[in-house]
Amino acid sequence: MAHLKGLVANFTKAYHRALADLKEKEPPLIFGLPKDEVFRRGEIIASDLQVYPELERTTALLRRQIAEDLSFKEGTTVVALRLTGAKGRLGRAWFAPPGGLWFSLALYDDFGPETRAWLPLLIGCALAEGVRFFGVPAKVKWVNDLLVAGKKLAGVLTEQEVCRGERWSLVGIGLNVNNPLPPDLPAISLREILGHPLSLPEVFGRVAACLVKYYGIFRAAEVRYLVGERLPFKRIFSLFSDTPGRTVVFGQDLQREAGEVAQVLEIDEKGRLVLEKKGVRFFFSGGEILYLD
């Protein structure tokens, strides 16, 4: 399906406006990293922007493009106004009607083993900062769900693709903007929170600009980590997340298993949850959690 040139222009303009605004407002050092370097490293995001009226899945299209196009560009971002086969974690169905922001981006995955696990968490932080710009007090629930008043505003699914020996991280993002929501789901949209609809290109522009910032931070910090500097990710995550201190149910698939109850003590340097149950501390690195309080 051909992508829409007029729409692409709207999304691109909104993105560049938001990026210029964000760059101007940021201090010279962002979490101790030079602003110019952060934005230079992050600006590959949305460097190739495609907008489609309808797709089955945006991530599936990126997968096909990686397989077919030898000169596939890192940062390629695919937006669809509607998805017919959207998926969440573990293949769960994701409702993606018109009005929501549904997009995926491809990042070349040469990340170090110590930093790899942090990328999905920082994507959640970028989303939180993006929607806070519109006055929405969203919090990140580990790993990267965006919640407002206990309801899901956005979700992220990071998938991996290995093609011709090269590894890609495909980040799929779904943000409820103006779209209707199924009544039986604990979900919420920006329109419901703010009481008025928002321009989809404007929301995309702001979120994409924040993704540029946080991906730039991720890359710049990774380089410094190699020469012995500390990663700022734990500090960043704590600014956006309300997971530490919560009582949670944790498990691999909480729709199919009961899970176990524990207290979240903190997020460690590797992005894992440090949990405590009956006086025993342990790590939880993959899977999902539900808040009990």
Binding site: L90, G91, Q160, D253, G286
Partner: protein
């Protein structure tokens, strides 16, 4: 591999002729081999219990820096060959010390045969694996060994480092004969995930399993 009656007979014959597996016990690290605790012909037992919490039979004592360690059997069977010349000597890590001749059980024979005759899809990385929801639904409805997957169909989801990777079927349409992992199980790289066969091979695979069950009682 094309499976037919002749091939079935050949496979069964090979297991009838040699229904054993030899486990070579090696030193886990350097040290002095102080004492053998078994002799050739002794029966030994591998770890047992629900969580394998009961250790296997003691085999020999390996001493490193005045710390004697009893090395135990990891498989049940008969002690077949002992390198007696190692007694009292300093040995390097991974030095073969003795062999355990393990008689294969019916379950193990079936597992080995399935590995030989099925098209095995292995785990690309050490990760947690989940059956794809579509396939899980089909298997639940029709049963294992009844569901056909076509090229491009999603078999499983690999979950690792907060990322998911779909494992997609490639090649001709095949029957999912066996699923070798439980939902959310951590599987090592290279370990089998699925055993697939062509639709026309399925009756032969079933026949082979039936014959093993007949010949090797539990």
């Amino acid at each position: 591999m094309a499976l037919d009656n002749q091939k079935i007979n050949q496979l069964l014959q090979s297991f009838r002729a040699n229904p054993y597996r030899i486990f070579v016990v090696v030193t886990p690290h350097t040290g002095y081999l102080r004492e053998f605790l078994v002799k050739e012909g002794d029966e030994v037992k591998g770890p047992a219990g629900k969580w394998l919490e009961k250790p296997g039979s003691p085999l020999f004592v390996l001493e490193r820096e005045r710390n004697p360690k009893t090395i135990r059997a990891k498989a049940s069977g008969q002690v077949a060959k002992i390198n007696w010349e190692l007694q009292g000597r300093f040995v390097e890590a991974f030095t073969p010390v003795l062999e355990i001749k393990h008689t294969l059980t019916q379950k193990e024979i079936i597992a080995e045969l399935l590995r030989k005759i099925l098209h095995i899809v292995t785990a690309p990385e050490k990760a947690r694996y989940f059956l794809s929801p579509e396939l899980a639904q089909k298997i639940e409805k029709a049963g294992e060994g009844r569901v056909v997957v076509k090229p491009g169909d999603e078999l499983a989801i690999m979950s690792f480092m907060k990322r998911e990777t779909p494992i997609v079927h490639e090649g001709p349409p095949m029957v999912v004969f066996r699923v070798f992992f439980a939902r959310g199980q951590m599987v090592d790289q290279g370990e089998p995930l699925f055993g697939l066969c062509l639709e026309e091979e399925r009756p032969y695979v079933e026949k082979l399993i039936a014959r093993v069950k007949e010949e090797w009682p539990t």
